[in-house]
Amino acid sequence: MSMNRREFLQLLAAASAAGFALDSRELLAAQGGPRVDGLYGLPRFGNVHFLHFTDCHAQLLPIYFREPNVNLGIGAAAGKAPHLVGEHLLKAFGIKPRSSEAHAFTCLDFAEASKTYGKVGGFAHLATLVKRLRASRPGALLLDGGDTWQGSATALWSRGQDMVDACKLLGVDMMTPHWELTYGAERVKEIVEKDLKGKMEFLAQNIKTTDFGDAVFQPYAMREMNGVPVAVIGQGFPYTPIANPRYLIPDWTMGIQDEDMQKVVNEARGKGAQVVVVLSHNGMDVDLKMASRVTGIDAILGGHTHDGVPAPSVVKNAGGRTLVMNSGSNGKFLSVLDFDVRGGKIQGFRYKLLPVFANLLPADAEMAAFIDKVRAPHRAKLEEKLAVSEGLLYRRGNFNGSWDQLILDALMETKGAQIAFSPGFRWGTSILPGQAITFEHVMDQTAITYPYSTLTDMSGATIKDILEDVCDNLFNADPYKQQGGDMVRVGGMRYTCDPNAAMGSRIRDMRLGDAPIEANKTYKVAGWAPVAEGAQGEPVWDVVATWLRDKKTVAPRKPNMPKLVGMAGNPGIA
């Protein structure tokens, strides 16, 4: 019997999908052949190197993370990166279906492919990759785009300390914040002044004091790399004081501040920087617009919107061109950006967004030992099995995810609510069918410093106002007026959404059962994560954990999705 390589691989994939005990390492190696070696043995190019990860959300261990099946681009953003999902993404970037990269970058066949390719990320595996790349790229800077200190139980319980220590061990050189700020201004200052001083730069040109507009943190840092002066400018999430509780950082003001960004770029250039990189937590749509308005930036290494984009977007502006990248989330990817700089100018670049397959990268012993130490005191609590999930649980998608639906169901049942809201967060790990849900998994979805669950009487008019407001933060045609989260998840109530419509008329036909929601009628609405000061209520992780313990087995969740108008053919739907 003769079998060519492709047939052999298809057989392997089929065997693996069918549940044969195939070593995914073997499969990955067979599939890519020399390419897998090439993947992590990426040859050095040029003389200026940046490694970038972002939005790891405190995931120290390898996890499953499903990419979105809905990520709509509206207006000028329609059909362009990062608003491509599933097969549309594969096609746009020339990625082979069913390959390891197809699994990393899309939601396609997620549960089955996860069995084949295994978990992704994990700081011990990331550390091995970083060490390898640093060995081949002397002087490389490791940049952390933020959302690093939040997203896990151990991060919350140590107020970010486990991640601060892990990042120091990983050798992060510079970072910029978003969720970090939700530990409060004092805690952030304490970490920056005590833990990071002299070891890691905490950069943000767009965080100023509310009174005089003084810089709170260093706006940028310069380094000489292999004889080339380079500058890295920090840009924290501009809308932290709006999207997260204002009271946690009462004396700081943020915003995009692109005029100030231009001044900082000019200053860095004036000091001789031959390469200027922005370490951004703007979100990719905002980065794309900023790149068109601010001149003199060579590359924006971005995060916030959790877009794993295989190739950079090249944006033209009055001063030349800027590369815009977004490096995914949850420790799943590491960006490698190489510049060839000669005669004071960039002559060329190479970029690769590397998926971090835990099975292909041995754990770094020192990092693994550190993670063990962090978890040891909490192990019993973290690993408590609450229930078994019969279905796939995931969060990503513009409108809802099965994990969010589970939270909505738990809230409505526990609190006796007709309707439930859950925030459109983009972090939160995935659970495969048949996997046990542990307390740690629940914390992966909920670990925030304002976890209060609530039950509120709301008029139909208020419900509509909230949906319209959040929807505009997602679909406003101007990226500078978007906040980068997803639509609030809605349980119990059906609605129609027209993303192309104007603010105030996107949400229609809201119904509870078959009855239309009435503007003046009052409804019981459960929710969590209120941003207002003084809110109270049982932490949502306890509500969900109790509900799961009672259920023992959780049937597959069907996410409540709005009926979409005007989105047919949009490649932001898989």
């Binding site: 004091t209 999207a243 983009r426 007026k481 989260g485 941003v531």
Partner: protein, 157 residues
């Protein structure tokens, strides 16, 4: 540096700051005392009425007026706005918010060649256009606009 500036300002107090501005010729006493305030313009309930009452006819759009304001307000109750004009001989700058019950929020006059720059905080109940109106010494009016979004917040990624 910052701490020193704060201490100095605390010592000087608001009266001192205004006295200094008057001495520098930035503000005329009449403005400080609000003696010749254009009441009709401030009491107008829409932009057109305010412009008319302010004597602003044939208003031309201008890119020489810069508005620095947030794209999304962090707090609609105190939205920081900075206005400056590079139009030669700018003698007056006013700030209007189209959706406010009384759109004209403030009007400043710049005498003796004072640099036409100012910053202020305005209250906004909803997403609206912030409009900056400039008058030059020859009596001509120019305007620039920027939308500021006001949102309930929460739910960020």
């Amino acid at each position: 540096m910052d701490a020193l500036r704060r201490t100095l300002l605390k010592g000087a107090g608001a009266t001192g700051a205004i006295a200094a501005a008057m001495a520098a010729g930035v503000l005329r006493p009449s403005q400080v005392l609000a003696a010749d305030i254009n009441r009709a313009a401030f009491e107008a309930k829409d932009i057109a009425g305010a412009l008319k009452a302010a004597g602003a006819t044939n208003v031309a759009d201008s890119t020489a007026i810069a508005i620095k304001a947030p794209d999304i307000a962090e707090n609609g109750a105190v939205v920081p706005i900075e206005i400056s004009s590079s139009l030669p001989n700018t003698v007056s700058l006013s700030v209007l918010v189209d959706k406010n019950p009384f759109p004209l929020t403030s009007s400043f006059e710049f005498a003796n060649g004072a640099v036409p720059e100012m910053s202020l905080r305005v209250k906004m109940g909803q997403t609206a256009m912030v409009e900056a109106l400039a008058r030059t010494a020859d009596g001509k009016h120019f305007i620039a606009k920027k939308e500021v979004k006001v949102t309930v917040g929460g739910c960020g990624g």
